[in-house]
Symmetry: C3
Subunit: 195 residues, 3 copies
């Protein structure tokens, strides 16, 4: 196989159903999803396979979903297949609720960091948000973009926040609060815990 086709040496590239400039906002959007996917791959390598089996499985599921997301965004055909459904979003919402229970209650912003893997997950969180901003620009520019990818990456960044906290909690590394933070998180889970 010859991997390199040289067909992109002049600045244009192929998408599903046509060709676009490489700096088209659509290419920016799924290119950033690809970047995010690479950071998720890194995070998986940094997690202990026993202690974090559930999370590793989730993250690999997410890697496949990020490809589904990229497939939708790289498709400019009139009839597009919708590979990305609501299922993974609901799945993440349930997981987030569980993780918020598992980690210590939270009222103020925390410094991103703690352990190697949690730091990388915080990087994933912020790169997901960068991708989200590009999808928003794409949707303002182009018609016919499915609303699911935007919803998906929005929830994904909250999932990453919750998972980063759980990783540090299991490793018994306390998250450090931002010292000049107000109480920004509404509705503490303290009461629920007492029930």
């Amino acid at each position: 196989m010859r991997l390199y086709t040289k067909s992109g040496d002049k600045g244009q590239t192929s998408v599903i159903g046509g060709r676009l400039d490489k700096d088209d906002i659509r290419v920016e959007a799924y290119g950033t999803i690809d970047e995010l996917n690479s950071f998720v791959g890194k995070a998986i390598c940094e997690l202990d396979q026993k202690m974090f089996k559930d999370i590793i499985d989730d993250l690999e599921k997410i890697q496949h979903e990020l490809f589904d997301c990229g497939s939708e965004l790289s498709n400019i055909k009139k009839e597009r297949e919708h590979k990305l459904t609501e299922e993974p979003i609901t799945y993440m919402e349930n997981k987030i609720d569980d993780f918020i229970e598992e980690a210590p209650a939270l009222e103020r912003f925390i410094l991103p960091g703690g352990s190697d893997a949690a730091s990388t997950i915080h990087i994933c969180r912020t790169v997901a948000r960068r991708a989200e901003r590009m999808i928003v620009t794409l949707m303002k520019t182009e018609e016919g973009v499915s609303p699911i990818p935007l919803k998906y990456v929005n929830r994904l960044s909250d999932y990453f926040f919750a998972v980063a906290r759980v990783i540090n909690a299991r490793l018994e590394i306390p998250d450090v609060e931002y010292i000049r933070s107000a109480k920004v998180f509404r509705g503490s889970n303290k009461k629920k815990k007492e029930e």
Copy 2:
């Protein structure tokens, strides 16, 4: 607590004092500060706690300051609190001068890398500069943005350069010079060292 509010699923989000599109240059700016903060968290994890206590303390100080910076940038109220002052800038300037003394003298560009932590600090350096470019766009677009965040991230990227060199110096890993570099750094610290 329910972490996800779903209120951003349509592409708008809340800032201090209002709501904006997620791809607003203001959101880009503090979103990139958040990304930078995550890389700083990563760098801290990679530093030996004994050999680099001074640097770890600095980096954690910086993490708090990056939140101060984000607070300013995410505020669109008429009367804005100024959390970020000149103090951390002066602090970094003194540290840079010390670090330049501690590391070997420098005339040519060096390859970013060497040790794990120094590499991550070089990533911090370049992500800080990415954030800086966005703050410049924001200031050209919007009125009333404080000049301090721009000055702060500008100095911060020089701080990261100086600190990356010191990390490698303490680990006795020599920085590799860019082979086709001219003498780009003006005013060697050689003389000063002889004094």
Copy 3:
């Protein structure tokens, strides 16, 4: 030496042959090359020096070339030196062909990840593609930009893909296929292998 010159505190900066706004697309382009270079530095640290000597040598060669690339992009003089030639592109093409032979045959997309170093190389791959998008915008905006940097980073991202696969192959970590992938890679190397 005083590292910080404060001359950029107002948002402008010097390039070879003049001054530009820091958010000029030209500065974006070589700033992203600098970011990429930092991730390459990180990847080098994560590779075993014996098992991957050939690859480490390549990556250090690439770090110098990324500076050559940055030199060209940061030059706005009428007469510009051309530090970056076709040689490194041909060099990478030969290496890619060899690496494609060394790694298992490929028909479908793979999840970026596997080992620490391969993950970081996938990050390099996607950051190279981000830089590529900016160079495309620069070339659409400005006249007189050499066509070599674009061609170079295009091939570089394919080089990174090939090298990530070889790293995992040598470590005997199988790449995971994207489960809902069609057969996207054309011309399997199976036949060639049988010859």
